[in-house]
């Protein structure tokens, strides 16, 4: 159960989602990915993509306009 972080701060769509998709491919089931984002659209499209693929998703607002999306790879 490894934990990974992708730094998407300062990046606009569609880059955050593409980075997350790329990183998730490399991970094993049970691994956790933390995506750091400050682009509000990514707060919508990353969780939507992850949930559609059956992964567990949580969003934390860590600061004004800054979020961490925690995704657990389930398959």
């Amino acid at each position: 159960m490894a934990e990974f972080t992708v730094d998407c701060l300062g990046e606009a769509c569609p880059v955050p989602l593409m980075k997350v998709q790329k990183q998730m491919e490399k991970m094993a089931v049970g691994d956790v990915l933390i995506a750091q984002i400050d682009h509000s659209c990514a707060m919508k499209n990353i969780p939507e993509w992850a949930r559609n693929n059956g992964h567990n998703v949580e969003i934390e607002e860590v600061d004004d306009g800054e979020w961490e999306i925690v995704i657990e790879k389930t398959k």
């Binding site: 701060l9 880059v15 593409m18 400050d38 600061d63 004004d64």
Partner: protein, 182 residues
């Protein structure tokens, strides 16, 4: 005072209206209502990027340039718009409204942030992307608002044609983005 704002930030209606993003359907319905309001009150369908060409022309005039001979601005209507100035231009006020509205919305949600520039690569990608979008929108006679949204809302076939090529462009654009800028 802090206790009051803490209470506001936890309020159900504050969260629903200002904090949490609207669903796509809510956004679509609101956009439709407002674009009908724009059409009804200004007499022309909503557009965004055509105004940027005028802003460019006004900026060019400010530094002593002259666009009178440019084909794009050669019509009498275009010349009249430019001569009337930015404060009398409806499209400019619509765009000012978008900028001011976006700022107010992000402040109300307490999500305002100055974003750092990540790399020179990002600057190059953003500048290239902006130039291509602006140039493409002028060649296509509109952007995704004027040529797509307003066209489809006016039951024009051109909006659907635009949509097909928008998807093709976005497909290749994201491939290039992944290859050269990520």
């Amino acid at each position: 005072m802090k206790a009051f704002w803490d209470k506001v930030s936890k309020n159900h209606y504050y969260k629903m209206i200002f904090k949490n993003p609207f669903t796509y359907v809510t956004g679509a319905v609101l956009l439709s209502i407002f674009q009908i309001a724009i059409f009804a009150s200004t007499g022309s369908p909503w557009g965004v990027s055509g105004t940027f060409a005028n802003w460019g022309a006004w900026l060019y005039r400010l530094v002593g340039g002259n666009v009178d001979k440019w084909y794009y601005f050669s019509s009498e209507g275009a010349q009249a718009t430019l001569n009337n100035g930015i404060l009398n231009h409806t499209g400019s006020w619509l765009n000012f409204g978008i900028i001011a509205g976006a700022l107010v919305a992000v402040l109300l949600a307490s999500q305002f942030k100055f974003k750092k520039i990540k790399s020179l690569k990002q600057v190059v990608a953003a500048t290239l992307g902006g130039l291509l979008m602006g140039y493409g929108a002028r060649l296509a006679g509109g952007c995704n608002i004027g040529a797509l949204y307003s066209s489809i809302a006016s039951l024009s076939l051109s909006g659907w044609v635009f949509a097909v090529f928008l998807f093709i462009g976005a497909f290749f654009g994201s491939k290039l983005l992944a290859k050269y800028f990520m």
